[in-house]
């Protein structure tokens, strides 16, 4: 799956568009503990989390993550404005969905995205 195709999944709102929409997603990772993300996720991954803190963008940028999906986010206004601003500045693709982490990962998997520890 290409990172640009995430925008076209149902129930996804794109907050910051990917800079390279044709880039193939290298794997999927989910955690809400950013220290775990720093230890395990890697370049080109899609990261699914319900955290909305600006550090999400800092960590994604640090690791060269292809994009971040913020889950359980029924109201985009509840995301810290600094998070979205920082994602724009650092060109980190940012998506939001009201769906749970489980559901969105199941959809990504059906679209062919593998976990970082498989495939």
């Amino acid at each position: 799956m290409k990172i640009g195709e995430v925008s076209r999944l149902p129930d996804i709102t794109t907050l910051v568009l990917p800079r390279t929409p044709e880039q193939e997603i290298s794997g999927g990772y989910a955690s809400d503990l950013l220290s775990c993300v720093m230890a395990r996720a890697g370049a080109g991954n899609i990261w699914v989390t319900l955290q909305t803190h600006p550090n999400v963008v800092a960590v994604a940028s640090l690791l060269d993550i292809a994009g971040v999906i913020i889950t359980e986010c029924a109201d985009i206004a509840k995301i810290d404005a600094a998070t979205i601003e920082k994602a724009r500045e650092e060109s980190v693709a940012l998506f939001a969905t009201p769906l749970t982490t489980f559901t969105i990962i199941a959809r990504l998997a059906r679209a062919g995205v593998l976990g970082i520890d498989e495939g």
Binding site: L33, L34, S35, Q51, H53, N55
Partner: protein
């Protein structure tokens, strides 16, 4: 001005915290502090300061200084110690925290009881709302709101694998007004710096995070003119001859 050397414990739970043992009553906490030579305490129950007045009162009778405080849980599940000089701003902070806690009942059979007691340790009432959960406040909001009330925020047990600034947020958020961090007694400040290089430049303190009397240790030694928050700030900054050591 002559300076005092005060063994201190700034992270302490009472029976108001559902996870604390029933022995965590003001007179017993103060007796344990006297036994160990701890001269400065802060009371930091989860998301509440309802027993702070009782511990201050019990401390006053024994000549042990007690700062009212709280261990607040942010929406990122980060635990932050919030310390105040006086009860009034601590209770004002508690009001703000209560407004940002979900309105759920405590499930005693799962979490344990939350008891409000007096300085003698006598039962006053149950706190029936759920305290041991996340507020909807961000780390940044807690810093801003506590500082506006004149309080001091210290990230709690940053070396723990959960409920910690470093575990949950990976890196110390830039722009955060942070001067000190708490580490657990499981490692020394030198070991903490080795494992978490980001802590460089911060003053590290160690507390027992006592949920039972035996976890009080008084391993943080503070050199101050008097046990006030203003003096603690100086000590954490290493200013004017004030200083903090982990022993």
């Amino acid at each position: 001005m002559s300076l005092l050397y005060l063994p201190a414990e700034f992270h302490l739970h009472t029976v108001l915290s559902a996870c604390a043992e029933i022995e965590m009553l003001p007179p017993l906490i103060i007796r344990q502090a006297q036994k160990l030579g701890i001269q400065w305490l802060a009371v930091t129950d989860h998301n509440s300061a309802e027993n702070a007045g009782a511990l201050i009162e019990a401390g006053k009778r024994a000549g042990i200084a007690v700062l009212p405080g709280m261990e607040v849980q942010t929406r990122e599940e980060v635990h932050l110690l919030c310390l105040f000089d006086e009860l009034e701003p601590a209770l004002a902070w508690q009001e703000q925290v209560y407004q940002h806690l979900p309105d759920l009942p405590n499930r005693e059979e799962t979490f344990g009881s939350q008891l409000v007691v007096d300085a003698e340790g006598e039962f006053l009432r149950f706190q029936e709302r759920l305290l041991q959960t996340s507020t909807s406040l961000s780390v940044e909001q807690v810093f801003t709101m506590v500082e506006a009330l004149g309080g001091l925020v210290i990230p709690a047990h940053v070396d723990r694998p959960a409920f910690s600034l470093l575990a949950n947020l990976g890196i110390i958020p830039p722009g955060l007004h942070i001067t000190a961090a708490e580490i657990t007694p499981r490692l020394t400040p030198a070991q903490a710096l080795e494992r978490f290089p980001q802590l460089a430049g911060l003053t590290l303190i160690t507390n027992g995070d006592a949920h039972r009397l035996s976890e009080m240790a008084g391993r943080t030694l503070v050199r101050v003119a008097e046990p006030t928050l203003a003096e603690l700030r100086l000590a954490l900054a290493g200013a004017d001859g004030r200083k903090v050591w982990v022993t």
